[in-house]
């Protein structure tokens, strides 16, 4: 299907600087892709911006929640005066303005109420602000129907993204030094040295991804787990506590209930850690002081990585990060890790 799509001269002018990076074929595939974005808070806004600018075919913004004061920290797609209005609807106008060539829709229903076959309308599903239970369900549906699945969230200084691309085939540029025999033959030695150059070959590769549940239910108490643990980013466990909070209270930690939410997070931590085979004090409860609202620069970093992974997945160009990216704004680390297989 993608092969039949032609890029117009207008599109070539608009996308010039990125076509020079990933090529026309990748741009054609992007142009054919239909994306569902669940959750329009700070991270969702960054992802929407990045993939709409890149030139996908269509984007559906799905969110049943309303704009709050906290959105002012990072949600640049909703007008400030829209507090109390639906997030997806409020975002629609500015998303569309980013690129008139992309078909953008808003859906104000609750993702939890969507039947399984709703997701079959998309090539990519990117879920933010969802509970673990919901993420597991959507991941399974996507895996069963070969839909590329992404999840991500930002809590204050912390953020992550996850990808399950199933069995994924992609093209990768490999550079080799080109030996130039014919042309360089007559050159004196001094000139010859300068002629050596890199030649790019396109190589076809594939990767197999694991389900989200395998990562979140991984037992770190085993010998194998303990060995892996040393090199696993701590942010992963912080995120698990935060997701557990959402599971338990059916909401995110919020600044308006700052003190009690902080306490709840500290109390939750040992139980979450023990359940996956870790010591109850494996991570310091300090994180609960810096995980409120969504920091704009953190959304930009996680949303930048997540947006690029979506672009890679649909354009089938370049090796995807398998299968997590974690950003920790306190220690400044940005790590890719393979967890769950």
């Amino acid at each position: 299907m993608a092969e039949q799509i032609t890029i117009t001269e207008d599109e070539a002018a608009l996308y010039d600087r990125q076509i020079r990076l990933w090529g026309l074929d990748a741009q054609r595939r992007l142009r054919a892709s239909r994306v569902l974005l669940i959750g329009l808070r700070g991270l969702g806004a960054e992802v929407a911006k990045n993939i709409v600018l890149a030139g996908i075919k269509s984007l559906t913004l799905l969110d049943h929640t309303v704009v709050t004061e906290e959105d002012a920290c990072s949600q640049f797609l909703v007008p400030r005066q829209d507090v109390g209005k639906n997030r997806a609807e409020s975002s629609l106008h500015r998303v569309q303005q980013l690129n008139p060539m992309v078909d953008v829709q808003a859906d104000i229903s609750n993702v939890g109420d969507k039947p399984d076959d709703y997701f079959l309308n998309f090539d990519v599903v990117c879920a933010t602000c969802c509970t673990l239970t919901l993420l597991h369900r959507i991941d399974e549906i996507c895996a069963a129907h070969k839909i590329k699945f992404f999840a991500g969230d930002v809590f204050g200084f912390y953020g992550y993204m996850f990808a399950d691309l199933g069995f994924h085939e992609y093209a990768e540029d490999v550079q080799k030094t080109k030996a130039k025999e014919n042309i360089g033959e007559g050159e004196p030695a001094t000139k010859k040295a300068k002629i050596e150059e890199l030649e790019t070959h396109v190589v076809k590769k594939s990767a197999t991804f694991t389900r989200l549940s395998n990562a979140f239910e991984f037992d770190w108490g085993t010998t194998e787990g303990a060995k892996k643990l040393k090199r696993t980013p701590n942010t992963f466990f912080i995120i698990q506590v935060l997701l557990q909070f959402m599971e338990k209270f059916s909401r995110r930690p919020e600044v308006k209930t700052l003190l009690e939410d902080r306490q709840a997070l500290e109390e939750l931590t040992p139980g979450v850690l023990e359940k996956i085979g870790l010591k109850s004090d494996y991570i310091s409860p300090e994180f609960a002081r810096s995980c409120f609202a969504e920091l704009s620069p953190v959304c930009a970093i996680v949303g930048g990585v997540l947006g690029q992974e979506i672009i890679k997945a649909v354009s089938q160009k370049d090796r995807p990060h398998r299968n997590f990216f974690f950003f920790n704004g306190i220690d400044g680390s940005g790590l890719v890790d393979q967890i769950g297989d």
Partner: protein
């Protein structure tokens, strides 16, 4: 706004943000993203400056701009769009160059933090100096495709932007361009030079005619050609006057120009027989007898710029672009000239056609207009995601700077793939200032090697002091006890000096020149090092570190004592190894980033793919040693 909501930041950070005043230099790819992050984080007082206007090719990433904004001021539109995100922020926009004297020391002193979101080295050097002079912390950044970097510069604490020598722009030997091209890029550079010769400023460094001074023609082999040079001059009568004057006389006649550059000049090149002993000789083309058997791309290509042209098509485009460019030049009136611009269609058509015709002559593969544009325009591909990540990292470093935690500040690199320690973002320790830096050292000194009999005051001012050493309006006096003024920043004051050679002022080996740039609040002593002949026929050479020149001098001495090519096998091997270990330096100017150093050596160690800014290789190595597995991961 994060800083106005209690509980998002710690109290110290919150107060620092609320009371801050910051400057963003550049409203392009990084600048747009950065401005968004700053207003959302709650920075209350932001000034942004950019001299550029909006182009359609910006819209795929500079998300504060839309189609209806094309042609308008970037800084102004960025301000208006960002105010929608936070109407309470105070944003001041300047549609201007940061290098203008309006932005003096007092201007820079207003800010708590300066953030560069620039795309060229000249402006980066200037802001670096202004921030050093005003003692304000600076965050430097850049992106290129999937790669990017951020680093922090603080006077006396870290390296400044100019502490390490900056890689020179990639150049090609004149004789390769003029006589023996072997790559498409050689033909493209030649075609750009031809454009300037025909329509632009006359630059003797951009001669396009055959070069009889090619070192390969030394001795007997070049004799025939040298003899025929006189004949050619007499016959054509072309070389004696300027190419532009001659082309003007012909009315930019396509046939005459074509036959001169692609037939007669090539025939002349063929007469330099030594060049073609081992090379495939070029084949001259005649306007009236163009090969018709060279096929263009016949199959359907989505974008017409990605189609290859036949020789006939090239000739047609050559003729058409010549006549458009002639019109443009005439419109400018007496003394007018054109400046080559990749976004000007006739200029781009001209270079594409001329480069491909020359490529055909030399049996070099031709290139599409799309590819020629990348190469001729030094286009750095740019995407929204990389800019977003880098702009996010700038703010993360900025928070540490506001808290004055300079020991915690890092240079951070965004890689394409995680390294073996899982890092996609690679933080590196900041280097200490280079005590011999000719910019940030307490008493900056620099050595310039040149021939005092051949360098005029004008060349010293324009190419060395402004071009090479980055001053804007220098005053220069000779440190001869009398304080003889050589160059004055007051217009006209030292005009009579400009065409004189340095030696006429008694400037010879070891003489010190005191340079002062009032705007940059920068004093630099230049030590002149006279040599009759420089390596690779360079006009001059700037050496930051004096010990380097002593080493160089000794080396030269040794070489002089040797037979040419008299290296022992061991020495030759060592030399070859040294080249291998040397960073392969590629410099890309213009859009988005000023310079990328891809380290060959790096490929062998843990960072599989890295873009480095100028200074970074050492920093990264240090951080690799300093950091231990466990303290990065946990």
């Amino acid at each position: 706004m994060a800083a106005s909501i209690f509980g998002v930041f710690d109290e110290v950070t919150q107060n620092k943000i609320i009371s801050s005043k910051v400057l963003v230099v550049g409203a392009g790819g990084i600048g747009c993203e950065l401005l968004k992050n700053l207003v959302l984080s709650g920075f209350p007082d932001i000034e942004i400056i950019d001299l550029d206007t909006i182009d359609v090719s910006n819209l795929n990433r500079q998300f504060l701009f839309r189609k209806e904004h094309v042609g308008k001021s970037k800084a102004q539109v960025a301000k208006e769009s960002a105010l929608h995100f936070n109407p309470d922020a105070k944003i001041t926009a300047y549609h201007d160059s940061i290098m203008s004297s309006d932005y003096d020391l007092e201007f820079f002193k207003k800010f708590d933090l300066v953030m560069n979101a620039l795309d060229n080295r000249v402006a980066r050097n200037h802001v670096n100096r202004m921030c050093l002079a005003a003692d304000k912390p600076l965050i430097e950044s850049g992106t290129a495709g999937y790669l990017g970097q951020v680093s922090v510069i603080k006077k006396t604490v870290t390296e400044c932007y100019e502490c390490q020598p900056q890689a020179a722009q990639k150049t090609f030997p004149g004789c390769t361009i003029r006589n023996t091209p072997s790559e498409p890029i050689h033909c493209i550079v030649w075609a750009k030079h031809l454009f300037n010769q025909l329509f632009g400023e006359d630059d003797p460094d951009q001669d396009v005619s055959p070069d009889t001074a090619d070192p390969e023609l030394a001795g007997e082999a070049g004799k025939a050609a040298l003899e025929s040079e006189a004949k050619a001059d007499a016959a054509g009568g072309i070389k004696r006057k300027s190419t532009q004057a001659w082309a003007m006389e012909t009315g930019y006649n396509a046939e005459k120009l074509f036959n001169k550059f692609f037939r007669d000049d090539i025939k002349y090149l063929l007469s330099m027989e030594a060049l073609w002993k081992k090379r495939k000789p070029p084949v001259p083309l005649d306007w009236n007898n163009l090969p018709q058997d060279v096929p263009a791309t016949t199959h359907q290509v989505a974008i017409c710029d990605q189609r290859l042209w036949s020789v006939q098509e090239c000739a047609d485009v050559f003729a058409k672009s010549l006549s458009s460019l002639k019109e443009e030049l005439i419109k400018q009136g007496e003394g007018g000239m054109l400046v080559w611009d990749k976004d000007d269609d006739p200029a781009m058509d001209f270079v594409t056609s001329a480069a491909n015709i020359r490529a055909h002559i030399f049996g070099i593969p031709s290139k599409t207009r799309f590819d020629v544009k990348s190469m001729a325009g030094n286009i750095i591909p740019a995407i929204a995601t990389t800019n977003a990540i880098i702009a996010g990292l700038i703010v993360m470093e900025g928070l540490k700077v506001l808290r004055e935690e300079f020991d915690k500040c890092k240079a951070v690199f965004l890689n394409r793939q995680p390294n073996s320690r899982k890092k996609l973002l690679v933080p590196c320790q900041l280097e200490k200032p280079n005590p011999k830096c000719y910019v940030c050292a307490p008493k900056p000194e620099v050595t310039v090697i040149l021939n005092t009999h051949k360098i005029t005051v004008k060349v010293l001012e324009e190419k060395i002091i402004k071009g090479g050493l980055g001053m804007v309006a220098p005053d220069v006096e000779i440190d001869d006890g009398k304080g003889t003024i050589l160059i004055s920043s007051e217009e006209g004051e030292t005009e009579e000096n400009t065409e004189k050679f340095l030696e006429q002022f008694g400037i010879n080996n070891g003489v010190r020149l005191k340079c002062d740039d009032f705007l940059q609040n920068y004093n630099l002593t230049i030590i002149i090092y006279h040599r009759d002949k420089l390596e690779e026929d360079k006009e001059f050479q700037i050496i930051g570190d004096v010990s380097e020149i002593q080493a160089k001098y000794l080396e030269d001495k040794e070489n002089e004592d040797k037979q040419p090519n008299g290296l022992t096998e061991k020495q030759a091997t060592e030399a070859a190894t040294a080249v291998e270990d040397e960073d392969e330096v590629m410099l890309v100017e213009e859009e988005e980033i000023q310079q990328i150093t891809v380290s060959k050596k790096r490929k062998h160690d843990e960072e599989p793919e890295v873009v480095n800014g100028d200074t970074v290789k050492k920093q990264r190595l240090i951080s690799d040693v300093a950091e231990h597995y466990d303290d990065i991961i946990s």
